[in-house]
Amino acid sequence: MEFKLEAHRIVSISLGKIYSARGQRGGLKLHKNLLVSLVLRSARQVYLSEPGCPPEPPHAACGPPEEEPPPCTTVWAAGEPPPPPQDEAARGGPRLPGADCEGPRSRRCCCGCSCCCAAGGGEANPADCATAGAAAPPPPHCPRKRSAGERGQAGSPVKKPRREVEDPPPPPPGEQEDMDTGNVASLISIFGSSFSGLLSKEPKGRRRAPLDGSETAPAEAAAEPGQICCDEPVLRTLNPWSTAIVAF
């Protein structure tokens, strides 16, 4: 139980770091945020696997089904309007891809989702996101003598994550361990609601936090009320790295 509390605390701290990294001068620090997301993932695993977990919610509310198609980065071209987040949350909807966005982002995200842009204070809009996604500054003439298709070899970093993903730690009974895909919308809605829900210790019956936020979280007025859950279903479905990437 002690581990569970510590894990919960670490999850909160980690999410706080990811959130505050958005306004940092100099842009997103990829290295630091990668490390934070790794800690977040470890803590989440411990939190979910510790005894004392509430019973499994039905799969429909939880994560996307196992046979979810592979990452759909190519599907999500910049400029396409994003789906409304609430619907997706209910269905465990499509993944917002990490959209191959060059470079660190502070306020904009390239995934075209107005929700996380809005979470940044409501100043961005889908048009901004679209532009950001479409126009990475052209690099100088960097000759590369092979296509992106020929990648890596055994031991190269690209292959390693695949192996990790394919052999995840044995999931707790009934849990579908789906590290690759996740329900982004709930995390985004958490950001949008200034963390009041996440940091709360109230039981999971509570589905909405007051919009003004009763905790001392930063006062980002959420355009998106969203669903505020610090509870099991959300933590189960979080894919910290993808959501962190996508949120940026």
Binding site: I13, G26, H31, L35, V39, P104, P137, P139, P157, I245
Partner: protein, 450 residues
């Protein structure tokens, strides 16, 4: 004179305070925080970069027989603004002016050259002296005002006259727009013509004369960013083999690459990794295994890596484990959660070799820095503080009390000041002179003069 690199190593003699540079104010301006320190190849010049984008170069004074004790003090030689804050309008983010690294070029003529880099742009600076000035121009007078041509009745040849020494720094090359992610390293090649720059996911090779193109030699960006599990944290060229370089990762691994084997070095020639000790696994194992610095030894036979709690020396011929491991501040292992909370766990400590590769040095908290003698296996903890800053005062070894009864002069772990961190240190290439950056102050220590 005591030979190159300090004879028996760091503990056969004592370290003395020599100089401290920087404001004494308790209130430190963020722009004044030193972010990199580097001696040049001869050790006569010492460069620092700060968060405000400035570079300050100190020059060692010639030894003066009338003042034998001054023994080559470092005084300001040149100060210039290397980088300014920029704004990337396309991505709507600010590019910090903080100098991440300075690397000197080997000296080829009277001028000195160095590379300085911030997150996105590398610049080649020429630092040259001017001690003569031409006088006696025909078309302008001494103030520079143009003379009335009708009043010129005779021509004269301008002559060179001595003037007060002026040191000028001018940017000779600007290498921009080649890095999408934040540059963490630059390294000059032993061919003296090329250098590499590394960001989180890519390493580029440049020619010093060519600014409009660079060659990408390593790219670890996955096709799908969601699969990203590691980033490049440091990179360096081998000191002698111009085709070899290494890069370290956030997973605690080092890859050695040979540019002769293929144009793109995504395949490594050697892969250095120490198996993880399963008993020490924690939430933070991954973070503390991330390598913050990698440095080849001067000999080129070894390399040293710094992770959060230790320094490791690797033999380039042995990939499966380091040959030496030195604990820098093992007492922090039980505090990792707090250090994660206050962000200290992300601090990137550097490390350095002495000239003879017999000793290594790295920084810690509370303005402590540590030295390890590789031969005697002795280690010492010293402090850079104003209190021990009397001229030629011998530095007293410090000790951290890790538990039980605290002895006199020991400091307990909980009393350590984590805001006083020594991330950047440099060792003179030949002599036992070290430069230690403590926030906004630069301390210079030398070995005791017998």
């Amino acid at each position: 004179y005591r030979g190159a690199g300090g004879g028996g190593g760091s503990n056969d003699f004592q370290w003395c305070f020599s100089q401290v540079k920087g404001a004494i104010d308790e209130d430190v301006a963020e722009a004044d925080i030193i972010s990199t320190v580097e001696f040049n190849y001869s050790g006569d010049l010492l460069a620092t970069g700060d968060k405000g984008g400035r570079v300050v170069i100190f020059q060692r004074e010639q030894e003066n027989k009338s003042r034998p004790h001054s023994r080559g003090e470092y005084n300001v030689y040149s100060t210039f603004q290397s980088h300014e804050p920029e704004f990337d309008y396309l991505k709507s983010l600010e590019i910090e002016e903080k100098i991440n690294k300075i690397r000197w070029l080997p000296q080829q003529n009277a001028a000195h050259f160095l590379l300085s880099t911030n997150d996105k742009t590398i610049k080649l600076w020429k630092i040259s002296e001017r001690d003569k000035r031409a006088e006696g121009y025909n078309l302008k007078d001494e103030d520079g005002r143009l003379r009335d041509p009708f009043r010129i009745t005779a021509l004269r040849v301008p002559i060179l006259k001595p003037m007060d020494l002026m040191v000028e720094a001018s940017p000779r090359r600007i290498f921009a727009n080649a890095h999408t992610y934040h540059i963490n390293s630059i390294s000059v090649n032993s061919d003296h013509e090329t250098y590499l720059s590394a960001d989180d996911l890519r390493i580029n090779l440049w020619h010093l004369e060519i600014t409009d193109r660079s060659f990408n030699i390593v790219d670890i960006k996955p096709a799908n960013m969601e699969e990203l599990t590691e980033v490049i944290t440091a990179a360096e060229f081998h000191p002698h083999h111009c085709n070899v370089f290494v890069y370290s990762s956030s997973k605690g691994t080092i890859r050695l690459c040979d540019m002769r084997s293929s144009a793109l070095c995504d395949r490594h020639s050697k892969f250095f990794e120490e198996p993880e000790d399963p008993s020490s696994r924690s939430f933070f194992s991954e973070i503390i295994s991330s390598i913050s610095d990698v440095k080849f030894s001067h000999s080129g036979r070894y390399m040293m890596t710094r992770d959060y709690l230790s320094v490791k020396v690797w033999d380039l011929n042995m990939e499966n484990r380091p040959i030496e491991t030195y604990q820098v501040h093992e007492y922090l292992r039980s505090k990792l959660c707090s250090l994660y909370e206050n962000d200290c766990i992300f601090d990137k400590f550097e490390c350095c070799w002495n000239g003879s590769d017999s000793a290594i040095m790295t920084g810690s908290y509370n303005n402590f820095f540590r030295m390890f003698d590789r031969n005697t296996r002795r280690d010492i903890t010293l402090e850079a503080s104003r209190e021990s800053s009397k001229p030629r005062a011998i530095l007293k070894p410090r000790k951290v009390c890790t538990g039980g009864k605290r002895k006199k002069d020991e400091i307990s772990v909980d009393s350590l000041d984590f805001n006083k961190k020594i991330l950047h240190t440099a060792w003179h290439p030949v002599e036992n002179i070290i430069a230690v950056a403590a926030t906004n102050n630069l301390y210079i220590f030398q070995d005791k003069i017998n």
